[in-house]
Amino acid sequence: MDLFSFTDEFLIDLGLTLLKIGFILAVTVGFFAPVLTWVERKQSAIMQDRIGANRADIMGFTALGLFHIIADALKMFAKEDFIPQGANRLLHTLSPIIALVPALLTFAVVPFGGKYELWGHQVNLVISDLDVGLLFVFAIASLATYGYVVAGWSSNNNWSLLGSMRTASQMISYEVTMGLTIIGVLMVYGTMQLDEIGAAQENFWRWGIFLQPVGFLMFLTASIAENKRIPFDNPEAESELVAGYFTEYSGLKFGMFFMAEFIEMVTIGAIVTILFFGGWHIPFIETQDIIDTFNFSWLGPSIANLITMGIQVGVFFAKVCFFIFIQMTIRWTLPRFRYDQIMKLGWKILLPLSLVNIVVTGIVIMLLK
């Protein structure tokens, strides 16, 4: 069987795919992951009346504390890589990789813009336009659970073990809820492909937030729980479990868990934006309007498309940033739940509610038909 046909078309596609991968990695690993460590510190500082990260300087120049990113990176590289006695060295080393790779991989199906016609070539701003779309996100994201569980288990530390047990039960509990909350969205848009869901929200009143308001709240809750941030940060609750599953991690291996967390924040922001907040669309402005606006005679349709693409990618990431801001604000406002309260919220409140949401959505769709 001829799996790939190396035609010109294929090579262009490959080149575009590589470009998109490069863009996504630059945005997540290169921009969001490091900058969010700074944003987290700076935003908390502003919320708490502090001056915040401003110590690291180069020749007395602090750039609002942005040099902390460099300082952090240098420190993490230079730190001793510590593996405790009796720990499983292989799994201890492997688990940050298992945690980080899925976080990056979910971006493969996350579109960051629509489809654009550039010089006779269709450009779809998603790395892989899989028909299973959303299912792929859940499948890959749940792989990260292994990373955290194995990290705690392999450390030969009782606190880590407790943390990893909490991680396991919390993450899998909320995976059920998360899966069920988006069923409503799938019913409304009739597809699992994220770029089609995004495209279906060109009309402002067709945004997911209006069609699935309960689903939105439940999904946001479940995804923050899935990402183990306050108020759901039980697996690493520092006052209870020292540092939870990464108690025995140091240096960049520890940093990788953090990186995974920050990248997952971006993923959550992106998926919430696509499912519920109109993806890359600007309210009340249709894509064709933007293209027409820039479609002067001397520019040509391709350039107009390119400009539109730039604008919409910008809009998309602006929305993502907004949701990251929301997540950070929640993190710096609320205390954390107790373990059994998290379980109760997941199983006894969100799960039945999401089942009801499915039935209600179904009935409403049928009645409106």
Partner: protein, 118 residues
């Protein structure tokens, strides 16, 4: 068909490379100074009393079993949800029956106390 997954494969290769590179870098770059007291796993400044490699409380595993039950049922809902608008009333009623069975299962676990920690 498989071409769809080419991007995924490339991204996976690159992410693995990044992750492995990071681990390798931190393993090679950092200093290595170890002595017996430092190598002990951290237990708040005391020596470990029990090893973590023992039979752990069964309650955590119960959650895992429940997860498998409910997540598989959730997976059944995905294809149904995508085709829902084409299935019409028939699909709705069928799925309500399915959800009822799921709900009864949930109620059973709930009443048996499988969702309570204490």
């Amino acid at each position: 068909m498989l071409e769809q997954y080419l991007g995924v494969a490339i991204l996976m290769a690159i992410s693995c490379a990044i992750a492995i590179g990071m681990v390798t870098a931190t393993t090679l770059l950092g200093p290595k100074r170890s002595f017996p007291d430092k190598d002990e796993p951290f237990e708040c400044g005391e020596s470990q009393i029990v090893s973590p490699y023992q039979r752990f409380s069964v309650k955590f595993y119960l959650v895992a079993v429940l997860f498998i039950l409910f997540d598989i049922e959730a997976v059944f809902l995905f294809p149904w949800a995508v085709l829902y608008q084409r299935l019409g009333w028939f699909g709705l009623i069928e799925m309500i029956v399915f959800l009822l069975i799921l709900g009864v299962g949930l109620m059973y676990v709930w009443v048996r106390g499988g969702l309570d920690w204490e």
